[in-house]
Amino acid sequence: MAAIKYVNLYFKLISAGIRAQMQYRFAFIMRIIGLITAYTGTAVTMWVMLYQFQVLGSWTFFEMLFLYAIAILSWGFCVILFLHFRSLDTYILNGTFDRFLVRPINPFFHFMAMKFDMASFGQFIFSLIIFIWVSLELHIEWSSGKVLFLLASIIGGILIQGGMLVLISAIAFWTTKSQQFYWVVMYPARNLTNYPLVIYPKIVQWIAAFVVPFGFVNYFPAAVILEKGTPFFPVSIGYFSPLVGLVFFMIAYCVWMLGLSRYKSTGS
């Protein structure tokens, strides 16, 4: 029953946020245009890159687009649910984090439901267009099994990237810094995984598979759907994406709760 209560509460909390954002309609539309432009920019860069060379480590332009679209789609959900975790340090420093502790609900949940960024529609529009375009170009046959697999991997991707954001924010409990770690660790890591992992040195591939499991966000699942080889890794590794996401997110959640238990207000 508690779960249903929380789901209801989540929608109540975010609907207030959505109404607030819709007051600034011009800003909202500008941000969506901005996001789509930025993602299209990266796609155009990929196209220019492959104009002369045709393949990047056996991946063609459309295959790379597909890889990119998976990352963007799961990132879109991440932005809605978890992106604001990176600024936990600001809340702690300003003392505004304390308000999440004095309510009769789980502080992690409360902090998560605090914000709902509507601009992630930009991510959804972009990735859906790419999915359709690439499916037509590469003649991907979307059997129901494949669709289910794609959805499951996207949930896995959300949990992995969300878990990473939660871990980064947890650092703030110890060091009162988190935003910067996002820009040093996560932002470059996300950019790295926009390209097929196979091009990186072996050690980087291993890290992306077993330490910071970003490889499971898009590379391994995309390799399964496009039936591409993944050197150094078994082909079926992509199927583990949801499981990896679940485990990784649980670890992140526990670390966050551990950090919370030793949190002392800055008292400002």
């Binding site: 930025a38 220019v48 890159m49 002369q52 040093v184 470059p188 950019n191 196979v198 091009i199």
Partner: protein, 267 residues
Amino acid sequence: MPKFHVYWIFTKKAFLRSAVYRFDVWSRLGSNLIFLLMWGSIWTALYAGREEAGGISFQAMLTYIVVSQFLTGVNGAGTPLWEIQEKVRTGDIALELMRPFNVPLRYLFADFGSVTFYIVTALLPIYAILFIFMDFTLPTDIITWVSFIAAAFIGFLIRYCIEMSFGLLSFFLVETGGIEDIFYFAMSLLSGSVIPLWFFPEWLAKIAAYLPFQGIYYIPNAIFIGEIAGGEILLSIGLQIFWLIICYFLLRLVWNRASHKVVVQGG
């Protein structure tokens, strides 16, 4: 004529300020190196074992990317754009407008300070080690070195003028999101920072050739690896200076308009 000793103080202060925020310097270097790894791997995979492509040797291409990533670090070490926009939004910029100095020039000189700190303490040591241990193309004659440094410096100024002009757009538009993204995309692709102009499709290379962005990365990088050599160096630097003058007047125009249009938003 501006009094440069006044601005010089901003340079010194910014230098000292960077020394305090050392964590920022290290984190910025960390992410710069990850992007170097990314682009290095991408170009290695694109060449796929070939010695040369399109007349450019693999070694020269890798050098191009390393130099480009170094200059990206240099260009990114100044006052971030959002900080200036935040000042415009909160109205703090009004305080700067009251003071007897030229605001764009003041920020430029402050950038000299923070950039110098970043180069000396972080970028130069790491990239020097890279160049010692890896097999990159180093210019052998002093003229190439001098013209590379000159071109990189002019490129820095061009980038500053363009970026500042865009930052000041927030005087006119409260939300600059979309425009900014187009700008950053143009800057990263058309400047040749990650893909040299000679690998572009012909039509795109033509567009890039008529825009100022190539002066930021492409020209200094190409001089470094000797792709632009001899008399072409003078021609390229001349082109850079031409664009610098235009971008400078653009910045002045935007700044004059902006400082007369301080919108009071209350609050």
